[in-house]
């Protein structure tokens, strides 16, 4: 099963919509609550990343038999140095974004910690694609 959500850059009030929808679906499927929590945390962080850094993006959730795959595609500035972006505490978020309580530099590392598979590709000036997989068991 496939679920798709559109995300607009800068729209913080909508950040969290996709993760709460996906949560609802996983709950109905009877997935272990601990796994659901990991999915929600990872997806929420990834959603916020699009809102905080990109212009727009599309989130696609694939519900497979063994786990959930989340693909987050955004159009945005891209990440010039992914290794640096993966360092805990490193952030390029604007002052405004930080003032709203986001952009502490924990997003990507946190997503990776919660995922069973984590893959990120980015092209500067074009956008970023994040591909994560979390197993149900």
């Amino acid at each position: 099963m496939e679920l798709e959500y559109k995300v607009e850059g800068g729209d913080f009030t909508q950040a969290g919509y996709a993760s709460s929808q996906v949560k609802k679906v996983l709950k109905q499927l009877g997935i272990n609550p601990i796994v659901i929590k990991r999915v929600v945390v990872a997806l929420y962080e990834a959603e916020v990343n699009i809102v905080a850094h990109a212009y727009r993006g599309v989130i696609t959730a694939f519900l497979n038999e063994d786990g959930i795959r989340l693909v987050l595609d955004d159009e945005g500035p891209g990440i010039p140095d992914i290794d640096q972006a993966m360092v805990k505490g490193y952030s390029t978020a604007s002052k405004e974004v930080r003032e709203m309580g986001f952009g502490a530099g924990m997003g990507l590392p946190n997503i990776k910690d919660n995922a069973d598979e984590f893959d990120i590709v980015s092209e500067v000036g074009k956008g970023t694609r994040l591909n994560i997989f979390i197993k149900y068991i």
Partner: protein, 444 residues
């Protein structure tokens, strides 16, 4: 429905099919969508029911019955103790004070009457320690059994947030049982009865969570007792005053069952939320991790908490107001805390609450995903107005029922009209479908 009338969970409510007119009022207010109308009668999915009593409240024909215990059974016991919630007294006019009512309860047949909230002051001490030490926050009160069931069924990830300390009702019951036994009375001769303002508490006594077994012998319907007390009063049967009573109760104890009763007595950041829909809205946020810095949440299923219980005859706002008035002139210190601790300390904690999540689409994940996809596709076809004419509370519920084979797409009136126009459904077939759901509501 396959689980009608037989289930592994004790249920406090029963639909009397001979009285039910299949009007669907109950179906529309059920917070867990556990009700359907079929064959002109309401039916219930037992394992989804949380005993909140919303259906009982709205039933216009009183077709929903409370499964309480027979009053006459109290006479099987030599010592007949009635645990009375303080809100019971707040339903009567002022001149019927607590002592008058207690004496009447003696006249009606009990040998001792005790406030349910007698252990509250001891509980507050334990709760504050518990909240302080709990690694899981916010701690959710175990007080309202409908909320505990709601969390088990709908928010299984939060079961570990539920405080594993006994509610005041069970503390009072333990206290009395152990006190009598220590005085040398044979336990079989002691009957401990609880006067309940709601059905959720009946279920909590009969089928408790967390591996606990309640010493409560029977549950008495508060609505019934209200009538008995009022009748005795009108007939001037005031009792001979021989009933044993304990009227030492503190402000915190009197207020406990009302909204903020717990939250105001606990340290730290404590919230109080009443009403099932408000509780669900907040639990959703807690589950998403949106709530930070809150130590404790008091959640009650009924509006105005227990004053709004379905078996409370008094108006919930007036009852609540009276509780607060009585609390304002009550003492602050309970002289019995030490004694209660002595009798109850070893029983205070129960094992954690287990989730009771319903697997809507079954436990095979492959099939579940397929079913869910089917439901999503059906939802695109259905009108999305949740009119309930199909006998299910919402279009989503109908889609679920279709996928599980309990209903068909033609149960939807919009589909019927569409198919009639296309010539694939005859008018008399449509009528027959509607009669299957609603029974004969008119001459066709």
């Amino acid at each position: 429905m396959d689980n009608k009338g037989q289930n592994s969970y004790y249920r406090g409510l029963e639909i009397m099919a001979d009285v039910c007119i299949g009007c669907s009022h109950c179906m529309k207010v059920c917070p867990t969508e556990a009700l359907r109308v079929s064959g002109g009668k309401a039916t219930i999915h037992a394992e989804w029911c949380i005993d909140c009593g919303n259906c009982y409240r709205v039933c216009p024909t009183r077709a929903i019955r409370v499964v309480d215990d027979d009053f006459e059974q109290i006479y099987k016991y030599e010592h007949r103790i009635l645990l009375v919630p303080s809100l019971f007294y707040s339903q009567f006019e002022d001149k019927m004070d607590v002592s008058t009512i207690n004496n009447i309860i003696g006249e009606i047949g009990f040998t001792e009457v005790c406030p349910v909230e007698i252990g509250v002051d001891y509980l507050i001490e334990e709760m504050n320690k518990y909240i302080d030490e709990s690694p899981v926050k916010p701690v959710i009160s175990s007080y309202c059994p409908a909320i505990v069931r709601l969390i088990q069924v709908r928010f299984p990830s939060l079961v570990d947030n539920i405080m594993t300390l006994l509610p005041p009702l069970e503390i009072a019951a333990q206290y009395h049982k152990n006190r009598y036994v220590e005085d040398g009375v044979v336990a079989e001769n002691v009957g401990i009865f609880y006067l309940t303002p709601c059905v959720a508490k009946i279920v909590a006594v009969k089928d408790p969570v967390g591996g606990y077994k309640s010493p409560i012998t029977g549950v008495i319907n508060m609505d019934l007792m209200y009538s008995k007390v009022l009748l005795a009063y009108k007939q001037k049967r005031f009792g001979d005053g021989s009933i044993k009573t304990n009227e030492d109760i503190t402000s915190n104890a009197i207020r406990w069952a009302s909204t903020k009763g717990e939250a105001n007595a606990t340290k730290g950041v404590a919230l109080s939320i009443d009403g099932i829909s408000h509780a669900m809205e907040f639990l959703e946020k807690v589950e998403n991790g949106d709530i930070e810095g809150v130590d404790f949440i008091e959640l009650r299923g009924c509006d105005e908490s227990c004053a709004g219980g379905i078996l409370v005859r008094g108006n919930r706002f007036l009852v609540s107001d009276d509780l607060h008035k009585r609390a304002s002139v009550a003492p602050w210190i309970n002289p019995h805390v030490k004694e209660i601790r002595k009798y109850c300390a070893e029983y205070m904690k129960f094992d954690g609450v287990q989730p009771r999540a319903f697997m809507k689409y079954g436990s095979d994940i492959k099939i579940a995903i397929k079913k869910m996809e089917d439901v999503r596709n059906l939802k695109k076809i259905l009108p999305g107005i949740d009119c309930g004419a199909c006998g299910a509370p919402s279009c989503e519920a109908l889609a679920d029922d279709i996928v599980s084979g309990e209903r068909e797409l033609n149960n939807c009136v919009f589909m019927q009209v569409k198919n009639e126009k296309a010539g694939t459904l005859q008018a008399d077939e449509a009528i027959s479908i509607m009669e299957k759901i609603w029974g004969k509501k008119y001459d066709s």
